[in-house]
């Protein structure tokens, strides 16, 4: 699929804004105006296509690295689903189908950039060098988030839909005040775009010209609700009403996600303010392991999206262009299997926290009430010494 891009000067994202403003007609309320544009650099068949505004020049090694990332995060995810099925995790939110959106955007970040995830950004976590086992703690119920956000420039997972968008904007305002060469990226879903917090974040970012990239993974579903329940216009077009550029990218195309996010981050760092990126993708699995999608969506939908699988197209590209041989693919498979085994093993080894840890870290300074409750509960537990509790 080739996309016709309006021929205009300037950087691609401002071009996108202009382009899209032209398409917003006064009676655009039903979203029936110009079809949404989609930035794509790699087709589902693995063909490289040109885009007038975005290009990417990747060495064969870089492409192989992206492929490796995609395969490994899918494997971690698979393992987590299996661990949940076996009762080792309470719940898991699978990223299946969204690997390219997460790896493409995650690999666009510099070390100095800061990322704010939802609960599904296991692929971005991977790019930020968060040990996959540390992602499991929250889902296993041993902690509320097992990594140091500052160490990885990757914030804790946020479960309350949309809250983190405001945090990201505030963080970006801090970057701005520090004069730092960095930007913030914040992840959220299609459903989240309905939340007040997200809309307030758009306003803040716009008014303060904050160096933030809003990365919306439109996976078509918010649990059982399809996108139409949240929006009558393509989500990326929301941005223009807030006064910043919005762009839709093929969320299953890792090249395009990387190129578009890189540009948006660069613009943010250079003082050009926020961008909304809508990564058009698909939640191939259930919402979480507790969910049963057969109740609300037809199987054919999944089948159609399987043809657009984010990993297969990179594999096809590597093959076709003879950038990788069977030996390479086998070695990645082997690495994935090892990683899966390792994640499983270390998950099972995760100890349960000590009961008195309930009282830890609630305050940073001594607190009389908690000290009292802790002492009382310790004494209570001692009464059970030797018996079960």
């Amino acid at each position: 699929m080739r996309v016709n891009w309006p021929n205009q000067d300037g950087d691609p994202i401002s071009t996108a804004l202009n382009a899209q403003e032209r398409h917003v007609t006064p009676d655009a309320s039903r979203g029936a105006e110009a079809p949404p544009e989609l930035v794509q650099l790699l087709t589902p068949e693995g063909e490289r296509v040109e885009h007038p505004a975005y290009d990417i020049d990747l060495t064969p090694e870089e492409v192989r690295d992206l492929y490796r990332d995609l395969v490994l995060v899918r494997r971690v995810d698979m393992e987590a689903v299996a661990l949940q099925r076996q009762g080792e995790l309470g719940i898991w939110a699978s990223l299946l189908g969204q690997e390219a959106a997460q790896i493409g955007s995650g690999r666009a970040l510099t070390d100095a950039d800061m990322a704010f995830p939802t609960y599904r950004e296991h692929g971005v976590a991977w790019c930020r060098d968060v040990d996959p086992v540390n992602l499991l703690g929250l889902f296993r119920g041993v902690n509320h988030g097992g990594w140091d956000p500052a160490e990885h420039n990757f914030h804790l997972y946020t479960i309350v839909i949309g809250s983190q968008t405001l945090h990201a904007v505030g963080y970006a305002m801090g970057i701005q005040r520090d004069g730092a060469d960095a930007a913030t990226i914040v992840y959220f879903g299609d459903g989240a775009t309905s939340q007040g917090d997200v809309n307030e974040a758009f306003i803040w970012a716009s008014v303060f010209n904050a160096p933030v990239v809003f990365f919306c993974q439109n996976n078509q579903w918010a649990i059982s609700e399809p996108l139409e329940k949240q929006s009558k216009i393509p989500l990326y077009r929301r941005a223009s009403g807030f006064g910043f550029p919005g762009i839709r990218v093929d969320g299953n195309d890792v090249f395009a996600c990387l190129a578009v996010t890189r540009q948006a981050l660069k613009n943010a760092r250079e003082g050009q303010g926020p961008t909304l990126i809508e990564a058009f993708t698909y939640r191939m699995g259930a919402h979480t392991t507790s969910d049963d999608p057969t109740r609300y969506r037809v199987a054919g939908e999944l089948e159609a999206w399987k043809l657009k699988d984010p990993i297969e197209r990179v594999k096809a590209y590597l093959f076709k262009n003879q950038l990788a041989d069977q030996e390479f693919f086998d070695s990645i498979e082997a690495e994935a299997a090892d990683l899966g085994r390792d994640v499983r093993k270390r998950c099972l080894e995760m100890p349960d926290p000590h009961p008195l840890e309930i009282f830890d870290h609630v305050y940073s300074e001594p607190h009389a009430l908690l000290a009292e409750e802790r002492a009382q509960y310790a004494a209570y537990l001692e009464g059970f010494e030797g018996s079960e509790r």
Partner: protein
Amino acid sequence: MSTLTLAKAINEGLRTAMEDDSKVLVMGEDVGKLGGVFRVTDGLQKDFGESRVIDTPLAESGIIGTAIGLALRGYRPVCEIQFDGFVFPAADQIITQLAKMPLRSLGKLKLPVVVRIPCGGGIGAVEHHSESPEAYFTHTGGLRVVACSNPVDGFHMIQQAIRCDDPVIFFEPKRRYWEKAEVEKGAVPLAFDRGQVLRPGTDVTVLAYGPMVKTCLEAAAAVAEEGRSLEVIDLRSLNPLDTELIFESVRKTGRCVIAHEAPVYSGLGAEIAARITEACFYNLEAPVLRAGGFSTPYPPSRLEDHYLPDLDRVLDTVDRTFAF
């Protein structure tokens, strides 16, 4: 008579209310085709259509705010908040608008909005899915707050809440959704602002609501063998409280334990204890004691059994009332 789970009983209660009154609407996230994450609204959209069973955008403030508007237009919306922890984005609409508008209109406006909230822990969930936020709402004048603990009440109380012209915050103990009981649909229900003695006893009054009722009944059964007699009262209504029922029991037993999952500190138990002390001071053999959660955020699920007051903690508290 039919045997129903709590989830199914509320479902049938909603169905009956919708059949009885065409102004009754159900709205919330995933309440339609999915039937809600706990299936409490299962089948309602199929039978009553999308204009009466509304899958809303993902925005709790929007759910309550628009429910207020619908109520102003004569509808009786029943809003589902998917999990307790997600009521907070709606707190502004509930506290600043829903609770106060009838008064501000000098009684001309009625807001018969029901806000259903699956509450409490014990299901091994991640954070924000196990909260007990009732005290925020019992602290807010203008809201009625109730909690059902069993299928019989689930079926009847939801209908009473819907018929009530005041806003009602309706708590449903999620870890009890699958508990079953015989429900007599034609029975004349107890008024929904009354408490109920579920197990008569003579030594200690045990007050509970929502998820803790079952725990307290089990505790009472466990100590009965030792010859200790607990009177277990299901409060049912948290604002207003059925104080007469409570006082009558405490005057008889002279001892009282209050159990809730919410933190003890500034919890509903504190209000009840203060009232009992005031009304039953000369009948008390011991101070009113409370068993509840700690003053910390709800812990990761592997520790929730320590956080939640269980049978042992309730009985330990009962024991302590005999130390005075």
